[in-house]
């Protein structure tokens, strides 16, 4: 096609300008993708820490439990429910828990705690709870020893081997009182958890709260978290939806997500500024390119080229330059993103210390999602289209006689 050839030749009539424009788009796309990748990697990493240390990807409760976390909103735990869940595609771990508040007391000290009764083996598969033991030993199904979070333990001045008194209100208002030997101390990355968590095995907790065979939560870990929505749909199709609520991690961690999103706003501003600079750069090029060619536009229109056709040629030129920048930007950043997704960056210095203090490995994986690329392609195409308004307007308002006189 000859018009395409014409556009192609026009692109290269000022090589340096074309290359500079494409290069500026390349830089913007490259940096934007990297920023987005780092940001999302950081975000996902932190969210994963929360998911893996506590919530799991999906939880199932009795309807209404999440809004009112009361033991009276617990549900009867039948094996068939757990078995059904276990058989749903993509579900790796199914952990039943009974969670409720109680008062802990040791010698002179008293403190409110969150008590979690769980299946020690399944819990460990999901949250690797045993790795958080800094003293003593992990839970066993047969013993009614408990694990106490570190900060809580130091507040209560209790150590392994001591006996903790727990007092609370059980299922249907029965009073719950018990004495439990401390068999291990846990360290949690989050100070909030470290201040209030107590773990015991599920039957012990059920007995303590007078809630035989009842649980408040089933926590699920998925093989592929990206397919969470399909999995939720599958779960809903096999359980009684009048009785149970199925919640995704992001529905449960609304506040955490909001905090993290606020922290990533900075990156978005950088990206916006980048694209603004590039936008003005392209606009400058387009203005120069257009004004240099006004006479030529006049010639081709006077010899019989329709203005729409001329405008299309100019658009093709601009889109080509835009695509060159986009494709090269993606081509260069893609391997970097994929490499550091698989081989996370090892953080050093203060950054690493902060991570370690929060019990998070000082690793910084980059994220990669097709949406990043799509987003950038769309942004650049929008910028290019907006700048094209100038030459297209010029073409349609072109006065042939005046253009020829230039």
């Amino acid at each position: 096609m000859n018009y395409f050839k014409l556009a192609w030749r026009n692109i290269w009539r000022n090589k340096r300008r074309t290359l500079l424009t494409a290069a500026s788009i390349f830089m913007a796309v490259f940096l934007a993708l990297l920023v987005r990748s780092i940001q999302t990697g950081w975000f996902d990493n932190l969210v994963n820490v929360v998911i893996q240390s506590y919530t799991g990807h999906i939880q199932i409760h009795k309807n209404g439990y999440w809004d009112d976390k009361d033991i009276n909103n617990s549900m009867y735990c039948n094996d068939s429910l757990l078995r059904v869940l276990q058989s749903v595609d993509n579900i790796r771990n199914v952990v039943p828990r009974l969670e409720y508040f109680a008062l802990s007391s040791f010698k002179q000290q008293t403190k409110g705690v969150l008590l979690i009764g769980t299946d020690p083996v399944k819990e460990d598969n999901l949250t690797h709870l045993s790795r958080k033991i800094i003293q003593g030993k992990y839970l066993q199904n047969t013993q009614h020893g408990i694990l106490v979070a570190q900060k809580l333990a130091s507040y209560l001045e209790i150590k392994t081997g001591d006996t903790l008194v727990l007092i609370g209100q059980g299922f249907h208002g029965v009073s719950a009182v018990g004495k439990f030997p401390v068999q291990g101390i846990l360290h949690f990355p989050s100070p909030q958890l470290d201040n209030q968590m107590i773990y015991m095995n599920l039957p012990t907790a059920q007995e303590f709260f007078g809630a035989d065979n009842r649980i408040t939560t089933v926590s699920l870990m998925l093989n592929n978290p990206d397919h969470i929505n399909q999995t939720v749909t599958l779960i809903r199709s096999v359980i009684n939806n009048d009785r149970y609520e199925v919640m995704r991690w992001d529905e449960m961690l609304v506040e955490v997500m909001q905090q993290l999103k606020a922290k990533t706003a900075g990156g978005n501003i950088i990206i916006a500024i980048l694209y603004m600079i590039v936008g003005f750069g392209i606009f400058g090029t387009v203005i120069m390119m257009t004004n240099e060619r006004i006479k030529e536009f006049g010639v081709v229109v006077s010899v019989g080229m329709q203005k729409t056709r001329l405008a299309i040629i100019v658009l093709v030129e601009m889109i080509f330059i835009g695509l060159t920048g986009i494709i090269s930007g993606i081509a260069v950043s893609l391997p970097i993103m994929l490499y550091y997704k698989v081989n996370p960056i090892h953080l050093t210095g203060n950054m690493a210390k902060t991570f370690i203090n929060y019990g998070i490995e000082p690793l910084m994986p980059l994220a990669f999602k097709p949406a990043f690329i799509l987003g950038n392609v769309i942004i650049v195409l929008i910028i290019v289209s907006l700048t094209c308004v100038y030459p297209v307007r010029k073409i349609f308002k072109l006065n042939v006689v005046e253009a020829l006189r230039k």
Binding site: L6, R13, G304, M305, V401
Partner: protein, 227 residues
Amino acid sequence: MNIIEIKNLTKIYDKETIPVYALNNVSISFQSGEFTTIVGPSGSGKTTLLNMLGGLDKPTEGEIIIDHINITKLRSRQLIDFRLRNIGFVFQSFNLIPVLTAKENVEFIMQLQGTPKGLRENRTNELLRSVGLGDRVDARPNKLSGGQQQRVAVARALASKPKFILADEPTANLDSKSAENLLEIMEQLNKEENITFIFSTHDARVVAKARRIVTLEDGKIVSDIAK
């Protein structure tokens, strides 16, 4: 047979402030096969007349009828198409498309007309040969002399098989030898292929070659001599 009929053509510039009558009630007709020059002092209205005739500009008043079509009534898109199919243009400053070769510049017009590729190529080669540029078909305009560029422009103007060719001072930017050469080619095309040329000039030697001389002064025709 009259191919162009101009009736009471008036063009007024700056109508609101100090009106300039670039053309003042001009009536004239042209026939197929003419070799006509428009002369007159600077500012007499030559360019204005040629622009109106080529449908590049609209008159203030009057009619231009080309082959039974009143082009002053055509809408912008129709007018562009009319120019493509009926009128060839040669400009003073050559105005070839810089990124296309001599051959591609000529082909470009036929491409706009939708001529099939094979036909296009044959005709392009033929036209470039007839203007004496058979050996420079692949050169870009910046590799050609002014005279050569203007000959490509003539070939381009012929490409669409127009009813007539308009040329506003086609030799003004050429040295005398190139100018003479261009005129010879135009004359030859006129004689051998019956191509109609209407061109303006200030050059006495060019005027001498014309067979009809129309003189403008202050936007009016003051003489119209056929040799």
